[in-house]
Symmetry: C2
Subunit: 253 residues, 2 copies
Amino acid sequence: MSGRLFLLPAPLAAYSPEAWSPETLALHLPAKAIGLYASLDSFIVESERSALRLLSRFKDAQSLRSLKLRVLNEHSGESELPSLLEDLEQGMDCGFLSEAGMPCIADPGAALVAYAREKGVKIIPISGPSSILLGLVASGLDAQRFAFLGYLPQNGEERRAYIARMATAVLKDGMTRVCIETPYRNKALLKDLIALLPDSLWLCVASDLCGAEERVLSAPAAQWRRSGLPAIGKVPAIFLFGKRAGMRPPDSR
Amino acid sequence: MSGRLFLLPAPLAAYSPEAWSPETLALHLPAKAIGLYASLDSFIVESERSALRLLSRFKDAQSLRSLKLRVLNEHSGESELPSLLEDLEQGMDCGFLSEAGMPCIADPGAALVAYAREKGVKIIPISGPSSILLGLVASGLDAQRFAFLGYLPQNGEERRAYIARMATAVLKDGMTRVCIETPYRNKALLKDLIALLPDSLWLCVASDLCGAEERVLSAPAAQWRRSGLPAIGKVPAIFLFGKRAGMRPPDSR
């Protein structure tokens, strides 16, 4: 198996002709990623539509027509993994692209990487934007240690019980918690967080990161309760809660 | 307070004239970060030496001479924060740069951001390489949820007890654990991890990420025990352990 599997970042900002102009994309993506978009001929992608939109910014019509795209998404099964590696087996380099941000995190790419590792494929991760880290550094929350929780439970009651449990855990262990939500549930999640977090914790909501409407709101829970629910809309967002960062981080392992 | 505080990424690869040539740096850093290195005149930095080395790649001698640098590191106290914001108060934009990777994570930058937020400073996070995420995506470990633990306890006995506790926790909650170590303790940490992790968990060590000697080793703990300790050296590295990623992630909140 001599092809290499490149784990490529995708833009965070949602598609628009301006947000996805080659110049704007290059502002947020390193040259290595852009060079690989342009040069690779084989890709495993989470969304064919997003991948083609992105690659069309950097490839001519001829290369786009001869492109090999294979799909790996939440509907894929374990049994499909071997066929995804066919081009790699032929010695071709291959890129993996998720819908947004760094691949493999909270998507099925990690299973592909595990399988590819067992088959001896060389894996090369390429740096790029991550809403988890951009939200974290801009939040003012403690970032000595943090936990990414992925998607929270969809059921309202379960979600609220989970948030309450996590809030208690933060008070004890000091680890900032980071979670995501599908955009149409942003409002429900934010409402629950504002209602449930204890006064002493901070809540941060970062939306449209790297986009024209980028907004990072971060304040103590008590202040959120006073100012009420902001207009958040159905945009990609990330939610964080934890202790305000200090010069001497709390240690309670 | 009208200046903006830009949270800038720094290269991950350790300094060498080749690794830090402007062309190599641009491979791993987005154009936005490089544009800000070149255009900002005021910086808060974790290490004056690293910051000057980096900025000298993108600034002429004249701009370097008139540069305003203020230091924030692990020896800084809470009382120094107000003076760090002086240029921002004068309406100047300011960049924050840590020694490597994204700022604020496991460094005192987060306290600066918290303080700046309370003073109404506009905070703008700029994307860049992160060893946490590059290691995670390349590992093949479950990445639906993960926890960054920062530096582990320095004392050998405490460290081993902590690793054992974390290994038990991973088996239960399925969250991949990520930790760092100062390079001269890499070998001791790796030895402990290889000795202590249960057979079913995977261990991943990623070193010199984005550098010429980039290496990501990831395999079941049992396999590490059979193959023995690899030559790791005193290079920047990140360590991860957790369950092998599958298409259907384990859920045990």
